[in-house]
Amino acid sequence: MASVTLENVSRVYGAVTAVDGVDLKIRSGEFVTLLGPSGCGKTTTLRMVAGLEKNTGGRISIGDNVVSDADSNYFVPSERRRLGMVFQSYAIWPHMTVFDNVAYPLRIRRRPAAEIRERVMGALRLVEMEQYAERPSPALSGGQQQRVAIARALVFEPEVLLLDEPLSNLDARLRTQMGDEFRQLQQRLKITALYVTHDQAEAMALSDRVVVMHGGKILQVGAPEEIYQRPESRQVAAFFGTPNLLAAKVKDCRPNGGAVFKLSVEGQGWSGECHAATEMTKGADVTVMVRPENLQVCEAAKANGGLSWSGEVVQAIFRGSHRSIVVKTPAQKLNVEASSLADVGVGRTVTIAAPPEAAWAVCSE
C-alpha cells in the first residue's frame, strides 16, 4: 500500500474553481475521508487522484511516483495508476457475472486462469459473497452489489482504494452495517483508503482522519473527535449536527495546559467559562459552540463554573432515544437533546447548563 500526496492541487472549469489549492498527505494504511456538502469539490479531488479528471494546477503523487503534474503537463492515465475504486453507483457491469466482474482487473492484466480463480474467490470470500460467484450481476441487491464492487476494487491489491460515496445508495440500517464491516476489513488489510461522503456520521465512524471541505478548499483536517469537539472555525462547527452557536465577548483568557486555553466569556444575559484552541484577546468577539447532547436540563440555576441559561420550552419532540427540546432564552433559542425520561412539556420554564469542557469558542468571522 502506498501513500498519496496532493500538493496545491486545483481544478478549474472555465470560470469555476471546483478545487482550490488542496494540500493533503495520506499516509500508507490510513483511512482518510473527504467530507463536505455537495459541490464542495470532494468528488473532483477524488477523481483527480483516480486520473478521471486532469488537475489544472499542482501535483499528485501515489507512493513515490508522481502521477500528475500540471506544471510539466505530465499525466498518467487511470489504468496505469494501479488503483481500486468503488463508485457511488457501484458500476457493476450488467453483462457479466459476479465472478467476471471481480476477475476483470486480473484478466486485463493477463494473469493465468488458475491465479485469477484463486484471487477472485479469495476476494469474494473477504466480502462473504463467494456463493454468489456465478450469479448474473443484475440479480444482486444493493448491498450485494456494493460487496462485489469492493471485492473488485481489492482483487489486484491496488496501491490505494478510492471510494466515492459507496454507502449512499443503501438504506440506513445496511449503511451502518456495511460501513462497520468495511472499516474492519480496511484495518485488517491495512489498506490506504480515500473516501468521499457528505454524511458526517459515516465520516466519523470510519475514518482515521476527516478532511472537511467547502468551496473547493480544505477547512480542517483532523481525527473525527478533534473535528467534532474542537472545530477550528464556525463553518466546521456548524457542519456537524445542529450545534448551538452563541455570540459572546471574551472577558479573560488563560492557558489551561497543552494547546488549550480557558476563557471567561459573556453573552447576552449569560456568562461562564469555556475552552478554545487559540489565545484570544480580551474583548474579542467569539462564537461559543455547545452541542445539544451536552446540555442538561436542571430544575434550578446551579452555576458551577460552566454555562447556564433559563427559558421557556417552546417545542418538545419525543424521538425515542431522546427528546429534542427548543428553549427560548434571552440570548437565543437553544436546541437541547434531553433524556427521553425527562418530563419537560411545552410552556415549562427550565434551566439548562453545560460544563466548561462542553463549550468551545472559535473566532467570529
Binding site: A50, R81, L83, G84, F87, W93, Y104, A153, F156, I191
Partner: protein, 586 residues
Amino acid sequence: MTIAYNRSSGVDASTQLRGNAFTRAFSGGTLGRNIGMAVLIFILGFLTLYPLSMLLYGSLHSTPPGMAGEFNLAGYRAILTAQNLLVLVNTVGISLAKTIPSLSIAVLLAWIIARTDTPFRGTLEVLITLPFFIPPILTAMAWGMLGNPQVGVINMAWRWLTGAEEPLVNVYSYGGVIWHMCQYSIPFLFLFIVDAFRAMDPSLEESSRMCGASRWSTFRKITLVLMLPVLTSSFMLSFIRGIESFESPLFFGTPAGITVITTEIYESINHRATPDYQYATALSFAILGLMFLLVLWQWSLLRGKSFQTVTGKGFRPNVIELGPWRWVTFGFCVLFFFVTVVLPVGQLLLGSFFRFFGFYTYDMLTLEHYRAVFANSEFWRAMRNTMTLGLLGATATMVLGAIVAYVSVRTKWKGRRLIDVMAWLPWMMPGMVLGVGFLWAFAMLPGPLPIYGTIWALLLAYIALGTPVATRVMTGSYHQLSYDLEECSRVHGATWFQTMWRILVALAWPAFAVGWVLTFFGIMRELSASILLYSVGSEVLSVVLLKLWTNGNAEQVSVIGLMMMLLVILFRWVQLRVIKSRISKL
C-alpha cells in the same frame, strides 16, 4: 488475500506508468484523436455535405452532370410556375391529410395495447407493427390490384354482391394516395407513441383521480397533455415522412394526374424526352428548403419540452378493465392487421397463381409465373444485389452511427457537434433528393473513381440515408449506460481500447443489432434513391419490381413481392426471437 506486494524498482515503475507512444496516442492522446476526427469528418462530409453542395451546384448548371455548360438561374425560374404551386399544395395537403387520421388511429391503438386489458395484446402488438416492416412498394402494388376500378378484387366483389355498375373504390385518386400512406404511417407512429403510454408514471394519473377528476378528464387533462411533446414530435416526423414519400404518389397519384414534389422530380428525369436535370435539381433544392423550415418549426415547437413522461423506468402502467368492450378493441386491432397485411398479401398470393391478373377462374390457375421468375437472371441478380447491399450497408451504417454517436455523447472532443450535425443532415433529405445529389456528386468525381453506375453508388446512398437513424439508436443506447461503467474499467487497469471493446461494445450490442435490422429493412424497401442511381447490373429488388410493374407484368410482381414478404417475416421473426422486442426503444 495478502497485500504484500513486490513493487518493481522506481525506474521500472515510471516507464511502466508512461507507457509507449502508441498506446498514448490512442488512449486519449491529441494526435490520434485529431486523426480520428479528421477521418470521421471526411467520411461524413463525403456522404452528406458533398452531395448537398453538388445539389446546389447542379441547380445552377445548365447541362446534365459531367457535361460542360454554363451557370444560370434557369432551373429556379422553371420551377416557379402555377403548376408547381399546385404540386406544392398537393404535397403538403396530402401529407397533412394522412398524418392527422394516422396519428388518431395510432394513439387509439397505442392506448389499446398499452393501457387496456384487451386479450392477446402481446401478439397484437407484433401484428400491428408488421406493416412498418413491409416495403411500401409491395403494398402499393397489392392495393393497385385490389382497388383497381375495373378488375380489382374489391370492386369485382362489390359488383357481384350488389349488381352495381360503378366501382366501390378507385385507388387511383387522392384517397388512394392517402390510404396507402396511412398504412405505413400508423404502425410508424404507433411505435413512437406506445412506449410513451407505457413509460408514464401511473402516480401522475392516480393523483389526478385522487383530486376528484374522472377517468375521462384525467385522460384529457393529464395523460394527453403529458404526452403532448411525444405527440407533437411524432406528428412532425410523420408529416415530414409524408412529404418525402415516393411510392404512394407514384403508384396511385401519377395515373390519376396527381403530382407531388417527389414524383415531379422523378418524372422530369425519367419520363421526359430529354431529362431536365437542372429543373429536377433546382426542385430538389427547393424541397430541401421546405424540409429545413419544417425541421426548424419542429425544433421551436419542442424547445424546452423534454420527454419527462418517458423516464425509462419500468413502471407498471394503469390497465383499464374494459369488460365486454375488450372484444371490440380486440376486433379493431385484428381488423387493422387484416386490412394492412392480410388483404395485400392475400392479393399477392392470388395474383401469383393465376395466368392473368383479374381473371380468377379455375382454368386460369398456373405456376408459370413462379417458373418465369426463378428462371429470370435479372431477378436473381437483383436478389443478390439487395442482399449484398443490405448486409454491407446495414453493417457499415451502424458502425458509422455507433462511432459518431460515441464521439458526440461520450467524449468532449473538439468538433463533436459538427459531426453530430453532419450525421443528422440526411434526416431532412428525402431519398429522391439525396439520389439527385449523389447523381451529381458521382459524376463530378475525378476519373479514377468510377462509382457512378456501380453497386457502390447505391451503397453510399444507403449509408447516407441510414446514418441519422443509426446514430439516434446508438445515442439512445449510450445515454442509458452510466459513465461509471467505463471509468470503473479504466481505473481498474483497462486501456481505452479494452474498455471500448469489453464494456461499451459488449453492452451496446443489442441496440446495435436492433439498429442493424432497422437499417437492413430500410435498405430493402428503399426505392426513390435506388431508381435514380441504379444502372444495368446494379438493380435491386425494388427497382426490378417497379420495372416489371410498369411493363404491366403484375403476375410476376406478385411472385417477387411474396419472396420479399417472406424475407421480411423471416427477419422480423429472428429479430423478435433473438433480440426481443427492443425496436420500440428507438
